[in-house]
């Protein structure tokens, strides 16, 4: 029997020692801290990094080699991408590079605003629905009704009642997204209410408002955060579609949907007008979805350590 010990104690004679078997694999590097978290969850890292780049593009658009996105220059219209106009020019001679970069502001603003507003509203409705039994049926049937209308149609209908502006677009899309979030929150609240620790809190004399605040809410935040990223992605796409069909942001403000709408008729001969905003939209939505997927896996309580 192969013996390897690090004993400092003198071994009595005839001692039977266990065979020391080697490890079957190399130990993984233990990664701690924020950097470690990112290395363990590459999806979060990639999605987050991409999103961060796009947010920076939107914020620092004026400093990134752009010109006034609304400046008309008919003499320079429909130029292909070149050293002067990196993404080319559109039908009215406007620089597409600048328009796409400024357009990022609209999409990201709409996406993030809708995500935050829909989450807050959905959270409130979901909590009420999960806790007040008689209201639950009424609220949920109403949400079912709202969800049965395709979000685009709903947003178009709401926009038809008001003027086109970024603020109204945000409100319209938020209303369309609330049912999804409230459904999720309600589901989480109902399952959390069954947890023994909630019963234990009741037995400890905790009043209902504190139960919601201390026991239900903190455990709702993780699934809601994941859902919020999906809402953000969805909102950006809906905004683009609304602008594409002319029911969204007014044409004076460049948005990826607007740009694509203007390039629609010419896409076979001048594909770059549609291509660049479409590419940016896709990458942004991809980044947000990756972030959401990564967060969902990272925050999964089965695999989670404390974050």
């Amino acid at each position: 029997m192969s013996v390897s010990t690090t004993s400092r104690v003198p071994l009595p004679p005839g001692l039977v020692i266990a065979q020391r078997l080697p490890d079957l694999m190399l130990p993984p590097k233990i990664r701690r801290g924020v950097l470690g978290f990112l290395r363990n969850n590459p999806t979060v890292a990639i999605g987050g990094a991409l999103l961060l780049c796009l947010v920076l593009v939107g914020i620092f658009a004026p400093y990134l080699g752009t010109v006034d996105p609304t400046a008309l220059a008919p003499a320079k219209r429909l130029r292909a991408p070149s050293a002067d106009f990196w993404f080319g020019t559109d039908l009215l001679g406007r620089d597409l590079y600048s328009r796409v970069f400024y357009g990022a502001r609209v999409s990201l603003t709409v996406g993030l605003s809708v995500a935050i507003l829909a989450s807050l509203a959905g959270l409130t409705i979901g909590l009420v629905s999960g806790f007040v039994r008689w209201a639950d049926s009424i609220i949920m049937r109403f949400m079912d009704g709202l969800m049965s209308i395709p979000p685009i149609l709903l947003a178009v209908a709401l926009m038809a009642l008001t003027r086109g502006s970024v603020g109204n677009v945000i409100m319209a899309i938020t209303i369309a997204e609330i049912p999804r979030v409230s459904r999720l929150v309600r589901g989480v609240v109902l399952s959390l209410r069954e947890q023994p620790y909630v019963d234990a809190a009741v037995a400890s004399g905790t009043r209902t408002p504190m139960i919601i605040l201390r026991h239900i809410l903190p455990n709702t935040l993780a699934p809601m955060l994941v859902q919020a990223t999906y809402v953000c992605a969805s909102a950006m796409i809906v905004e683009s579609i609304l602008s594409f069909i002319g029911a969204g942001t007014p044409p004076t403000i460049p948005s990826w949907g607007n740009i694509m709408a203007e390039g629609r008729a010419l896409w076979q001969v001048k594909p770059y007008i549609v291509f660049f905003p479409a590419a940016f939209l896709s990458v942004t939505v991809l980044a947000v979805n990756l972030l959401g997927d990564g967060l969902r896996d990272a925050l999964d309580p089965r695999m989670a350590k404390s974050l």
Binding site: S137, Q195, P196, Y197, D199, A200, A201, V202, A203, S204, G205, T206, R214, H215, P218, N219, P301, K305, S306
Partner: protein, 332 residues
């Protein structure tokens, strides 16, 4: 004659089975269907039975985690099943609970310190934050956990340690009765022993009464004073420990005891193997609920439900065999 600490009279709890478009009630689950017993100060009464017998529901009903369908729950002479929420809060201090699953009994996002402080704050048991700190630290000592665990979160502890935290939380309210709902069932053998010993020590130290709900008869025998056996929502036998384990009278109790595997190889075994499965509490059998599986069933059992009758000091049995003219023990 002092008033018993807890008195339960003809407790009933029926759960609706909802279905349909607007959650109409289509059926009822007769989880608890007429249960009566008493618990004295400082004693342990065990509720035993298999899944579906309603023992957990009885525990939760006593804790007022939901409203009961019928019957009375009397704590120290005062009815608690119909109290207003404000008066109820005061009563909650006196009856606490330890649940089965150590993993879902603690809020994963709270620190141990805050978990233990919650009942103390709710019931106003500490007049200053210094006193609160002292009480929380003392609780950790009582359940034999180190004080520096106070700043950690539940997932950092093992099952046995979490159960100790649950016990500490229950003790924080300075209760007189603790409902242990399968409190040791989810623990490993050696950890079970630690927690059972701890509960017995705490009972001695604080004069606690325990309502010990369990399906593990060997553990029950080790730590209880009296036993009540439940089947399909009713108590079929209730007696002091020695009586139940030495000479069980009800056929179900006899089958239950004989079915427990004994850790002694080669011991003489005569398990009474019951036929069939436990009927559903939605559709309990007519007459005596046990008649579909009872080896001694006769005609009266199928039509008439036997009442719980006393057969001696503190002994109760619900079985028609007791009323047979040949006297108990006949036909067995």
């Amino acid at each position: 004659m002092s008033v018993p600490l807890l008195q339960v009279n003809d407790l009933k709890k029926h759960f609706p089975v909802r279905g349909g478009l607007f959650s109409r009630t289509s059926n009822w689950v007769y989880a608890v269907d007429g249960v009566s017993f008493e618990v004295e100060r400082g004693e342990t009464l065990s509720l035993v039975g298999e899944s579906g017998c309603g023992k957990s529901t009885v525990g939760r009903a006593i804790l007022r985690l939901f409203d009961i369908t019928a019957g009375q729950v009397v704590l120290d002479g005062e009815r608690i099943d119909d109290l207003s929420p404000d008066r109820l809060r005061g009563m909650r201090r006196r009856v606490q609970v330890v649940f089965q699953d150590p993993f879902s009994s603690l809020n994963p996002r709270m620190r141990v310190r805050d978990i233990l402080a919650e009942p103390i704050r709710n019931f106003g048991l500490a007049k200053s934050s210094a006193e609160l700190e002292a009480k929380v630290a003392a609780l950790m000592d009582t359940v034999r956990l180190s004080r520096d665990a106070l700043d950690r979160r539940p997932h950092e502890f093992s099952g046995g340690q979490r159960q100790r935290i649950c016990i500490a939380r229950a003790l924080a309210a300075e209760p007189e009765l603790i409902v242990c709902d399968e409190a040791v069932s989810a623990l490993d053998v050696s950890v079970k022993a630690q927690i059972v010993n701890l509960l017995q020590d705490l009972q001695q130290q604080f004069g606690l009464a325990l309502l010990f709900i369990s399906h593990d008869l060997a553990i029950v025998e080790h730590m209880t004073h009296r036993v009540a056996v439940m089947y399909l929502g009713k108590i079929v036998e209730m007696a002091p420990r020695q009586q139940i384990f030495a000479a069980p009278r009800h056929p179900y109790t006899q089958a239950l005891l004989s079915a427990v595997p004994v850790p002694e190889p080669g011991a003489a075994r005569n398990p009474i193997i019951l036929k069939g499965d436990v009927p559903s509490p939605i559709n309990p059998p007519s007459g005596c609920r046990f008649h579909t599986r009872c080896p001694y069933v006769f005609d009266r059992c199928r039509t008439e439900e036997p009442e719980l009758r006393t057969t001696g000091e503190g002994e109760w049995v619900a079985c028609h065999l007791e009323a047979l003219p040949e006297g108990p023990g006949a036909g067995r």
